[in-house]
Amino acid sequence: MIDSGSEKHLAGHPFDRRDFLKVLGWSGTAVALSGCGNTSIEDGKETVVSYVEAKDYVIPGVAVYFNSTCAQCDAGCSISGKVREGRVLKLEGNPDSAINKGKMCGVGQAGVQHHYNPDRVREPLLRNGDKGETITWEKAYALIAEKLAAVKGEEIAFLTGGVSGHQKVLLGNYLDSLGTKNHFVYEAVSPGVVRAANLKAYGVEMPRYRIDKAKVVLSFGADFLGAWVSPVHFSQQYAQFRRGVDGQRGVLIQAESKMTLTGANADRWLAVRPGTEGILALGIINALGTATGDVAELVKGYDKARVSRDTGVEPSNIDKIAALLKLRSPSLVLAGSAAEGYAHGSQNAAAINLLNQVLGNVGKTIEAPVSVPFPQMSPAKGNTAALKTLNDDLAAGKYKVLFNVATNPVFTAPASYKFRDNMARAGFKVAFAHYLDETALQADLVLPLDSAMEDWGTSVPEYLTEGAQINIQQPLMERLHPNTRGLGDIVLALIKQRRADEYKGFDDYYGYLRGAMLQNKGALGGGGSDDDNFWNDTLSRGIVKLAGPSASLNASMATAGLKLPAPVEIDEHYPFQLIPSVTSSLRDGRHTNQPWLQESPDPLTTIVWDSWVEMHPKKATEMGIVEGDIVEVTSKTGSVKAQVYLFPGIYPDAVSIPIGRGHDAMGRYAKGYGVNPFQIMDSVFESATGELAMHETRVNITKTGQRVIVVKDEGPAGGMQMGRKIAARVSTDQVDLSKEV
């Protein structure tokens, strides 16, 4: 049935993949590196690139593109890898994908730096005191078998990020074979609360948002252009939204306590008192005056004066927004991380969803999601509550063996979890890792993973756009380090320890994947073609598009249980609300060791290579703080020291520190740059879902007396145009967009 060893086919051209992906004649790059002006051009000094065997379309000097899937985040953008002389050079978007339509974000582009990263783990490592000793894979597998034999099923726990596709199926089978159900799916940054609120309001966790169809978007801290759910897809929708529906340019209003990239692009940005997003939503419903019945009853108390007092938003702005929402329909209201990050996050999100329903957007700009017809492959969505449970279990000593698949909770768990200590209570810890990051360093056995450019795989993104699709991931080049392995290959080897008979037909994960795909050929749209043709076609496309079943939305305007707390009074010991911000380039910090992202200026502050504390200039002046002052940010849990950046896009009683930096391991480009706000985050949880309420920490700011020069890209004019027409702006009443092409 499966013959993975024989000639494999690609794009209709049969060839030996191994030979093609091989890195050829090193001379090309070696010489390129010696740069300009001082190169040897002596005849006979260099070797010429040549192949042993090559198919006609393989031409030295001409790039070939292979379609695969970006693994930098879970949005599932399809990529086209540019391969030349056996090296992957650049990742470009695959225009056939409905998700990214040929476009890429910066994080995705940096995928090559993940692959070529000099700090990748290259060999299986076994702990020997403080050091890691290189061992063979056979020994590593044998050790795992030995450790597993000594424990019961329920004493084994698996910690992974979001998984989907065949990896999820195989991993599930392995867990099954071990007799454990302890699979914790953890994402440090996830819309967990919004999912739950959506399920209540619409009957689905994540509907399809149609920003492109909306005439007004009112976003409560959803950074859909930067780091929220599927940014590349939303950016495309956004461009369409700006160009206009029926000739009318879309209007974006962003309400949040700390300006996000999306907020920076808003027509109107509202600084909201932290945690009062729900109150503002109810205030707008009240101002609309169209609600009836229960809803009208609920919003009765939320008159303009009170809402303005609570949220800090001018009454005139509430009027204007309500008027605009009435005038231009359909609109779209989004609840993002700024709304969900509080103990009452579910209530906030519910109030915001209620606004959507009152405006009649459900079914218009909020559409039913699609899903793949293979439920076993659909994504296991990560959240933060999973880590909390795991942490409690570890503290209680429930687990003797812990597998961690490329997540980094030692870095992303709040310090108050004491995750590092609790992890130590598991007797044997295995880390599947790309880098020796903070969590891998705590493991007893580190198994080096292939990069996404070396590995086979399938995945199903959580947020599907036009139709259902299964994304294919395939190697773009030969393994850079001979002793790394794909996740699928490792799990297959491990499952063979338990169920040898069942899996003996599969030499490797490639064989398993090909077999599994061929088995469902009919359902995957390849009914008419023979196996090889179907497989070639699938690989060359990099995507399997499916007519997936569509869920239905049920818009129930439930107001029961919706109760928003009054805004928190200022605590004199901890007068500031801490907003840990998720930036578009560093996200949860897993890619901090990719130098392009470190040197990519934060769009809002233009700071590079470091963390900062964002403070409103007004507040800073009161406290005598100037840009570059090192301040100590103290919470009940702990304190960090970082440079101050004066930033007007923040509620004056809040300060913000970005997530992603502050690594004390991982690699040369990550270690020692910046601070980690998770270290001072209090353990406060969202009351309905148990998710970590990331915005609930209150802090105090004290000057240390030190001052540094902030490393930023702002330029000498400090972001001012000095009367020149550089970045020009015009208001809609002065411009005629209908003439444009």
Binding site: L33, S34, L89, V251, L324, E599, R729, V730
Partner: protein
């Protein structure tokens, strides 16, 4: 020729650059960037690093202003005495404007930067001696100097990382100036292919790396003399003339209701990049 006369007519003296009296034919590469679509996400800048072998200089050198981003996102905020930037920030992708009468070209003592027939401002690394006059004379500050020999600098391209380098682009050594090239390696490849087939490069056949990556498709790039190209149509409808230093539309009473403009046009560099003003809703 008096000094006044020279200054007044300087534009006609120094521009219309195409060599040997040949006008731009069949190519004049140009760009249009819609600031209302640009979100400031930085994808273009990272794509440029990947395509053009730009070194990552690190924290220390960035602090000294030695960053090498050919494509950078400038961020502006006009205070106007307001407490909050309640109409958002202004983002501006800034790269070499490939000026028709480039101020950098006239000051190069060795002719390392000059105009090509397809309207690009070329930078020839092997000719450059590093006088940095061009950078001093560039009003857009988009020229970047190799203060160090980055190929041999620690952690710029350590082992393995160097395998990502694009073989079509020279890796620059110490002491040379560099800048955005409009991805000339892609343009030349497309031009040569088209020439071999006895035609011109078609619209959409060649993209710059930044344009290709831009998630909001804010950047359009193409052949300005091709009436079929999107760039041609955009420049035409926005009434921006390549060879004017004051656009007719702006001279009209009450100004123009079109968004197209070029940065620092009044300095008469005749940039090849047109920006479309960011729009903000007047109703909120």
């Amino acid at each position: 020729m008096t000094a006044t006369n020279l200054l007044e007519n300087w534009a006609s003296v120094r521009h219309f650059h195409p060599i040997d009296d040949k006008p731009h034919d069949p190519y004049k590469w140009a760009m249009a960037i819609d600031l209302d679509a640009c979100t400031g996400c930085n994808a273009c800048a990272v794509a440029c690093y990947a395509e053009n072998n730009l070194p990552v200089v690190g924290r220390e050198k960035f602090l000294h202003g030695q960053s090498m981003h050919w494509m950078r996102i400038e961020r502006y905020w006009e205070e106007d005495g307001r407490e909050f930037p309640d109409q958002g920030f202004q983002f501006l992708p800034m790269m070499c404007q490939q000026c028709e009468a480039a101020p950098c070209e006239t000051v190069c003592p060795v002719g390392a930067t000059n105009h090509t027939q397809d309207g690009l401002n070329s930078q020839i690394y092997n000719r450059c001696i590093g006088s940095r006059y061009c950078s001093a004379n560039c009003p857009f500050k988009v020229r970047y100097f190799n203060w160090y020999d980055y190929p041999t600098t620690e952690n710029v391209w350590p082992a393995e990382m160097n395998r990502q380098l694009n073989p079509d682009v020279t890796v620059r050594g110490k002491g040379v100036m560099e800048k955005c090239t409009f991805c000339v390696q892609r343009l030349r490849a497309a031009e040569v292919t088209a020439k071999g087939e006895g035609r011109i490069v078609r619209e959409g056949e060649v993209q710059t790396a930044c344009q290709q990556a831009c998630p909001a498709s804010a950047i359009s790039f193409g052949n300005l003399v091709d009436p079929e190209s999107r760039v041609h149509k955009q420049w035409l409808t926005q009434q921006v003339d390549l060879d004017k230093d004051k656009q007719d539309k702006d001279q009209k009473e009450g100004g123009s209701d079109l968004r197209g403009y070029r940065i620092l046009e009044e300095l008469r560099p005749y940039p090849s990049v047109m920006y479309l003003e960011r729009v903000r809703e007047s109703a909120v």
